[in-house]
Amino acid sequence: MTDPTQTTKPGRTDRPDGSFGRFGGQYVPEALMPALEELEDAYGRYVLENEDGFMDEFRARLADFGGRPIPLQRADRLSERYDREVYLKREDLLHGGAHKLNNALGQVLLAKYMGKERIIAETGAGQHGTATAMAAAHLDMPCEIYMGRTDVNRQRPNVFRMRINGADVNPVDAGRGTLKEAISETMRDWSRTVEHTHYVIGSIVGPHPFPAMVRDFHAVISEEAREQCLDRLGDLPDAVVACAGGGSNTMGAFHHFIPDEDVSLLAVEAGGSSLEVDEAAGVAPNSATLSTGDEGVLHGARTTLLQDSHGQIMESHSVSAGLDYAGVGPELAHLVETGRVTPVNVGDRVALEGFHRLSTEEGIIPALETAHAFGYLHEVCAEDGAIDDDPLGETIVVNVSGRGDKDLETVIEKTAEMGLEAAPDMSVFDGGLR
């Protein structure tokens, strides 16, 4: 799990408060600090040192309950289309339908080892919420999920899944009602209940030790992918491409490739409808934090943010709820700053085209989040030009972070709205999901 060659030490990083270069830290209300200390201790013992066989149990449950290992599949038609070798890391096959379970299962199990009695979590797309609800049901822990009102409305199937798994879903009305507000509200709950409750944060964001710990739970993605590449290709890939909201998906897919300096690591953010920003309204019509944001402090960490000139956090926007967040994890911010990870982005339209392309050509309906990675792949690979010059190279692994069952309604609506060419005729869908 730990890798001696990585730029920052796992768990304990450059500074005792868990920074990644300039980024990271623990900017939280005092009431939460003891819980973070307790968590740091538990993380060190159970996760890093496998005390009481924690990691063994985690791995076993990830296998049996989650379905790991997850295949690395050659995408035959994309490979042919682009005249490159395109491989898919199929996290969409993980139980729950997204990579999110790796982390949710890890944290709920850890909470159990720590003697906690209740689980709370925020969710954006609902993928982390459903993963947490599933893990909590599996491990018999009461569970409450905070979800922005906007997201509740645009990801209804996931709301139902959480409820059906026995979790309570608390809609958050503050702000634009998306992930940012849900995180704030979950932190408030935690401030009240910290003694017996564990907050299962859903990405590599938040105060130390969350970013390191969430990364470690997801690192199994790149651990497997790297091995699968070596086994199958006899070589490492030229590039790994993954979509980034908070960044758990990217860090999971990148972690074990970081020491392999010839492997390009591409983080694809949501370009939304535009990269321009409306300062006055405090609104960014995108969530391309790494490309357009700057340093600040949000949700417990110093990191890269979308903020106005005063330091107020922007309302981000993306067609995909799971990328719709105004910050990124501190480790990702650091790796971008040091040049190890290249941030890129594609807008809603290109993402939707990517969605339809993967669905009709490969028979895999991706999450809208994931679709951004395929939109980017297409933007690079559909160009004429020497492969040597582009950021991807010959052999590319794309992390299929989740499946798109939750997005059907949004896709139908947006496809019609945008009049996409590549998409199948959607007219039979008139009338929506019922």
Partner: protein, 284 residues
């Protein structure tokens, strides 16, 4: 610990009354009136909130105040003008989140520009709810440079080494969080308060208790339990919000605030008298 503190003087003659309002709630002008009304009502220190878009430590009452203030156009620069426009006797403390402090100026120099400007307009200290002692050194240094206090919040869960670290860095007073959770007016007095005050007994810094204080009666009991001051936010903001919602005249709301302030001051005084255990104010 800074030896330039002036705020501690507010604890000199009896328990300090420390009201909190969000600056600019619901409008710049009305907010000036409200802060001044609390000053007239007997405030020793006023915690003035500079609203931040992600107030993770606040309950719904203060969250809504912050939304009103932001919608009214409050910014850090307007906040400093606001402080300049205020005519109050109480010491002023700025309560805000770290990102606003950090971003001020070029955004490259850390908290220094913000502290410098705050000092210039007469702010005497800071409460930063998302800045634990572990992350506070840069701000502490800037405060030292400009002679301001840095107040920390002590939670019911703060103990041992962490408490030490905080007490090493605090100045002005410590903000004793009466219970776990976010801000918000409550009807009971928490048991946790007494326990925290006990843990703090050995430290010679004024202890002001906040989170959930609503009435004179609460104030009395808190002070009787050993507090050197009471911090009241949500209960006052409820009055602002009610006035705003009902369309009451600004003077009317101001008067109600002043009345409540007096009730709280009187309660605190009763508490001090009853037990006679008002701690001697330290001289820095």
């Amino acid at each position: 610990m800074s030896d330039r503190s002036t705020i501690a003087d507010a604890f000199a003659d009896g328990p300090a009354f420390i009201p909190y309002l969000a600056a600019g709630d619901p409008s710049y002008e009305a907010s000036l009136e409200y802060v001044e009304a609390l000053d007239r009502g007997g405030a020793d220190i006023i915690e003035l909130g500079l609203p931040f878009s992600e107030p993770i430590a606040e309950g719904p009452t203060i969250q809504e105040a912050i939304v009103r203030a932001l919608e009214g156009g409050m910014t850090p620069e307007r906040f400093f003008e606001f402080v300049e426009d205020l005519e109050v006797e109480a010491s002023l403390v700025c309560m805000t989140y770290y990102n606003l402090i950090y971003q001020y100026g070029t955004g490259e120099e850390g908290p220094r520009p913000f502290v410098e400007r705050a000092a210039a307009v007469g702010i005497e200290g800071f409460v930063v709810p998302d800045l634990p002692a572990e992350e506070a050194d840069p701000l502490r240094a800037a405060c030292d440079e400009f002679g301001l206090d840095l107040i920390f919040i002590v939670a019911p869960t703060t103990r041992g080494e962490r408490l030490e670290r905080m007490m090493d860095r605090v100045s002005g007073y410590v903000y004793v969080q009466a219970r776990l959770g976010t801000t918000g007016a409550r009807d009971d007095v928490s048991d946790q308060t007494g326990a925290t005050l006990e843990r703090l007994a050995g430290y010679d810094v004024p202890k002001a208790v906040g989170f959930g204080i609503k009435t004179g009666d609460h104030a009395e009991r808190i002070v009787a339990a050993g507090a050197d001051g009471i911090i009241v936010g949500s209960a006052l903001i409820d009055i602002v919000a009610d006035g705003h919602a009902s369309g009451a005249a600004v003077e009317e709301t101001a008067a109600a605030l002043e009345t409540r302030a007096r009730e709280l001051v009187d309660g605190a005084a009763r508490g001090a008298a009853a037990d006679g255990n008002v701690p001697e104010p330290e001289q820095p």
